[in-house]
C-alpha cells in the first residue's frame, strides 16, 4: 500500500489545492509543498524498502472483471528511480513556482492531477490502469500550459495534447490486441490486462511484428521520438516553469517507460526484430536534437531540443535489449529527469524572472550581472552535456556500452557524434547567454546587477543538482535497484 500513497496524496493534494480560495496563494504554496514533499517522502521510503528484483508492494483487486480489468499496482527497480524523480521534480516545481499568484488554486489542482497521473503510470501493473493514468496525465498539461504559459501557449498546449493522444490512440489499439492475442503456455487465450500475467504469456510472433511498432511508437511519441518530437520543444517553451519541469522531467519519461515496460516487456520478438530501427531513430534523435539546439535563439528552445536529444539516449538504451543498455536507459530517464528539470527551472524562472527575456541575443554578459546564477547554470549545462561526475555521463556510458554489445558500430559512432554536438551547443549557448557582449547594449540593463537567488530557488537548485551529482558519483545507489529487475525482465524475455 505504501507506494499507492504517492498517487493518493497527489490526488488529494489536487482536490485540497483546488478547493482553497484563489486569493490564498501564500497558503496554497505551502500546502502544495507539503503534498509534494509527502510524495517524495513516500517514494524515498519505497526506495529504502526495496531490494531484489521482483515487484514489491503489490496491491491487486478486481476492478472491472467483465472486461478483464483489474486494479494492480506495485513497483520494481525499473519504476523506482522514476518514482523518485517524479517526487523530486514535483517538490522542485513547487519551489520554482513560489511567486505564482494568478489562479494559484487551479494551478496546483492541475499540477497535482498531473503528478498523480504520473505516479499512477509508474505504479500500474495493469495495462488498462496504466493507460488510464497515462491519459490522466495528459489533460492537466493542456490547462497548465494554456492558462499559465508564455507566448503561443494555446497553440503549444493543443499541439502537445493532440500528439499525446495520437500516441495513446496507437497504444490503445495495441493494448486491445495484446489482450486478445496473449496466450498461456497451453495456447489458451488469457484475456487479461494484468502485466504480471502478460509478462508470462505468449503472443504469436507474427502479431508481435506489427504490434511492437504500434505500441512502441505510441509511447515513444510522448518520449519525444523523432519525427514525432515537435510537440516537445514548443510545449516546453510555452509551458510555465513548473510544467516544463514536469514535462521534461517526468512526462517524457512516461513515454519511455511505456516503451520499456509494455512494448519491450511484452513483445520481445517484436523488439528483437525492430531493435535496429529503434536504434537508428534514437541516433537521429540524438544528433538531430543537438543540431537543432545549436541553431536556436530562444534559450528555452535550446533546452527543449536538448531534451529531445537526451531522450534519444533513452531510446538507444532500450534498443540495445541487453542489461547494460537497459540499465543505462533507466538511469538516463532519472538523470535527464533531474537535469532537464533543473535547466528548465533555471531558464524559465531563475533567469527569465530577472532578465525578462529569453532571447539569447538580448542577454548581455550575465556572468557579470548574476554570477551565482550563471555558475549554477554552467554546472547544470555541464551536467547536461554528460561531463563525467554527473549522472548524465554514467547513464550515457551505460547506454553506449550496451550499444557496443548489440548494435552496429555505426550506431555508437553516431551517438558519439551526438555527444560531441552536445558539448558544442552547450558551450556555445553558455557563451551566448553569459559571456557574450550584446551587440546593441541597452544602457539601462547593462549596469544593474540582478538580485541573487531566493531561498526556494536555492533549495530547488541544490536538490536537483545534488541528485545529479550524487548519482553521477554513486550510480550504484540506483543501479543496484535497477539491474536485478531488468535482469529478471530479460530472463522472462529470453523464454
Amino acid at each position: 500500500m505504501t507506494a499507492l500513497l504517492t498517487l493518493i496524496l497527489s490526488f488529494i493534494g489536487a482536490l485540497v489545492c483546488g478547493l482553497m480560495p484563489a486569493g490564498a496563494h501564500r497558503q496554497i504554496r505551502w500546502v502544495a509543498l507539503a503534498f509534494a514533499t509527502a510524495g517524495l517522502g513516500v517514494s524515498a521510503v519505497c526506495y529504502a524498502n526495496y531490494s531484489g528484483g521482483e515487484f514489491a508492494d503489490l496491491v491487486e483487486a478486481d476492478w472491472i472483471p467483465s472486461l478483464g480489468i483489474g486494479f494492480a499496482t506495485g513497483y520494481d527497480g525499473i519504476s523506482l528511480p522514476l518514482l523518485l524523480v517524479t517526487g523530486l521534480v514535483a517538490v522542485c516545481g513547487v519551489l520554482f513556482s513560489w511567486t505564482l499568484e494568478s489562479r494559484a488554486n487551479q494551478f496546483y489542482a492541475f499540477y497535482f492531477a498531473l503528478i498523480g497521473g504520473v505516479y499512477g503510470v509508474f505504479l500500474s501493473l495493469d495495462l488498462f490502469l496504466l493507460f488510464v493514468f497515462y491519459e490522466i496525465a495528459v489533460v492537466p498539461k493542456y490547462f497548465l500550459i494554456a492558462i499559465w504559459g508564455g507566448a503561443r501557449r494555446q497553440f503549444a498546449a493543443m499541439k502537445l495534447v493532440l500528439y499525446s493522444f495520437g500516441g495513446s490512440a496507437l497504444v490503445l489499439l495495441g493494448m486491445l490486441a495484446v489482450f486478445f492475442l496473449a496466450q498461456d503456455a497451453n495456447g489458451e487465450a488469457l484475456k487479461t490486462f494484468n502485466l504480471l500475467a502478460l509478462q508470462q504469456a505468449q503472443i504469436p510472433a507474427a502479431a508481435q511484428q506489427w504490434l511492437f511498432p504500434l505500441i512502441f511508437v505510441g509511447f515513444a511519441i510522448m518520449g519525444g521520438m523523432w519525427p514525432f518530437h515537435t510537440w516537445a520543444p514548443t510545449g516546453h517553451v510555452a509551458a510555465p516553469t513548473a510544467a516544463s519541469m514536469l514535462l521534461a522531467g517526468v512526462v517524457m519519461k512516461l513515454g519511455a517507460y511505456g516503451c520499456l515496460r509494455v512494448a519491450v516487456g511484452l513483445l520481445p520478438a517484436g523488439a528483437q526484430a525492430w531493435a535496429s530501427w529503434v536504434a537508428v531513430v534514437a541516433v537521429i534523435n540524438i544528433v538531430y536534437g543537438a543540431l537543432v539546439a545549436l541553431k536556436q535563439d530562444d534559450f528555452k528552445y535550446v533546452i527543449g531540443y536538448s531534451s529531445v536529444s537526451h531522450m534519444g539516449f533513452v531510446l538507444l538504451g532500450i534498443a540495445t535489449l541487453n542489461l547494460t543498455g537497459l540499465t543505462g536507459a533507466v538511469l538516463q530517464m532519472f538523470s535527464h529527469g533531474v537535469i532537464g528539470a533543473l535547466l528548465f527551472a533555471l531558464v524559465g524562472t531563475v533567469i527569465y524572472s530577472r532578465t525578462k527575456t529569453r532571447m539569447l541575443d538580448e542577454l548581455h554578459r550575465l556572468i557579470d550581472h548574476m554570477p551565482g546564477i550563471a555558475w549554477v547554470f554552467v554546472a547544470a549545462g555541464l551536467a547536461s552535456m554528460g561531463l563525467p561526475g554527473f549522472s548524465g555521463f554514467v547513464s550515457e556510458l551505460f547506454v553506449l556500452l550496451g550499444a557496443w554489445g548489440s548494435l552496429s558500430g555505426w550506431i555508437v559512432g553516431g551517438a558519439g557524434l551526438g555527444i560531441l554536438l552536445t558539448f558544442g551547443y552547450t558551450l556555445v549557448k553558455i557563451h551566448e547567454a553569459f559571456f557574450r557582449e550584446r551587440k546593441r547594449p541597452d544602457a539601462s540593463q547593462a549596469k544593474t546587477a540582478y538580485p541573487p537567488m531566493t531561498l526556494p530557488e536555492k533549495t530547488g537548485v541544490a536538490l536537483l543538482l545534488g541528485a545529479a551529482l550524487l548519482i553521477g558519483l554513486c550510480p550504484w545507489l540506483l543501479t543496484d535497484k535497477i539491474s536485478p529487475s531488468l535482469k529478471l525482465m530479460l530472463e522472462r524475455l529470453a523464454n
Binding site: 555541464l382 563525467p388 553506449l400 558519439g416 555527444i419
Partner: protein, 483 residues
Amino acid sequence: MITALTLAPVVAAVLMLALPEARARAVALVGALVSLALAVWMLVQFDITAAGLQFSEKVAWIPALGVDYFVGLDGTNALVLLLSALLAPLAVAASWQHTDRPRTYFALLSLLFTGLFGTFTALNFFHWFLYWELVLVPSFFLIKLFGKGGERHSAALNFVLFTVLGSVAMLIGFLFLHQQTGTFDFIKLAEKGVPVSPLIFCAILAGLWVKVPLAPLHIWQAPAYAAAPTPVAMLLTGVMSKMGVYGFLRIIVPIFPEQLKQHAGTLMAFALLTILWGAFVALRQTDLKRLLAFSSLNHVAYCVLGVGALGITADGLKVDAHALARQGVILQLFAHGLAAAGLFYLVGLLEERTGLRGRNDFGGLSAVTPRFAAVFFILTFCSLGLPFMAGFAAEFLIFSGTFAVAPGVTVAATLGLLATAVFLLTMLQRVFTGPVNEQNKSMPDLTRNEILILTPIIILVFWAGIYPATWLEFSQKLTQLIP
C-alpha cells in the same frame, strides 16, 4: 592518501564558497600546499626498489560495469604528480595579486588542480576520464573569463572542442575495450592484451594526440596559451600538456604494445613533424607567449618521439634503448614542466609590468633588471638543453634511446634542436641585450615574492640536471618490469 591529495583542492574550493571573498586565495594556497605536502611525503616514502603500484587504493564503485575506484603510484606517474603538486601552489602564489572575482578564480583553479592530480593517479578509465574532462572545465572558464585579448572566447572554445573531439573518440575506444574485456582497469587491460581493430586504436590515440598535442591537431594550443592568464598558462604548459604524454605511457605502451610496434614509425614521423613544425613556426613568432607555446609544442613532442622508440624492437643492442627512452621521457616531462612554467611566469611578469609581450618590444633588459634576466637565461638554457640542467639530461636520455633504434629520425630531430637554439637565443638577444627601450627603463626587477616562487623551480632544474639519478630512480624499477 592519494585520494586526500586529489580532493584537498576541491575541499578548498567548497570552503571558498562559504568563506569571504578575500580569503579565497589563502584557502586555495592551503589546499594546494596540503597536496604538495602529501605528494612530497609520498615520494619520500616511495620504495624505489619495489615493483608495481604503491599507495594504491581500490574500492568497488559500479560493480555492474566492473568499475573500481582505483588509484596508485608507480614510476610512471610519481614525477608528474610531484610536478603538478609543485606547480599548483606556485600558480596560486603567482596569482596572489589577482583581484577580479577572486572567489571564482581560485575556486576554478583549485578544481583544475584536482583534475590534474586525479588524471595522474587514476588507474581506472572511468574516473580517469572523469578527471581528464574535469581539467577542461576550469581551464575553459579560466581562459574565457580571466584571459586576455578579444581572442580568448574563440581560443577557449577551440581548446575545448578539439579536446572533446579527442575525448569522445577515446571514450568510444574504451567502450569497445570494455565490450571485449569487461573492465576499465588500466592494469588489468594491460595484462589481458586485447586484440583491437586499428580503428579503435586510432580512436584512443586521437584523444591523447589532441592533448599532447601533436601536429596537425595542435592548432588550438598557441591561441589558448597566449590568451590564458599567466598562472593558468603555467599550468597548461607545465602540467596539462603532460597529460597527453602520460596517457601514452599509461595507456598506449602497456595496453597496446602490438599496435604500438606496428605504428611506431608513423608515430615517430608525426612526432618529428611536430618537433620541426613547432621549432620552425616558433622562429617566426614575435609574440613571446605564442613563441613559448610553440617551443612547448616542440619540446613535448620529444617525449612522443621517445614513446615511439618504445615500440621499435631493440634486440642486440648494447644499451637498453627502451629503458633510456622511457626514463628520458619521464624526466623530460618533469624538466620541461618546470622550465616552461617558469618561462611563462616570467613572460607574464614582463607583460604585467610593461603591458607588452612582443619579442621586439624590449631590449637591454639585462641591464635594467639583472635578476630577472638571470632567471630568464637559466630557464631558457634549460629549455635549450644546456648541460647540467634538467632539459639536457632528459633530452640526452631520449636521444640516446631513440638513436639506438631509429637513428635517422633522431638525426632529423636534432635539426629541431638547432632551430630551438636559434629562436630561443634570438629571443634572449632581442629582449635582454642591445639598447634599452625607453619606455621600459624604469621596469622594476623581481620582487622577493617572485623570487620565492621561482626558487624551487631553479633548484629543481639544476638538481635534475646535475644529479638526475634522484629522479630517475623512481622509474628505474618500472623499466625493468615492462618489456
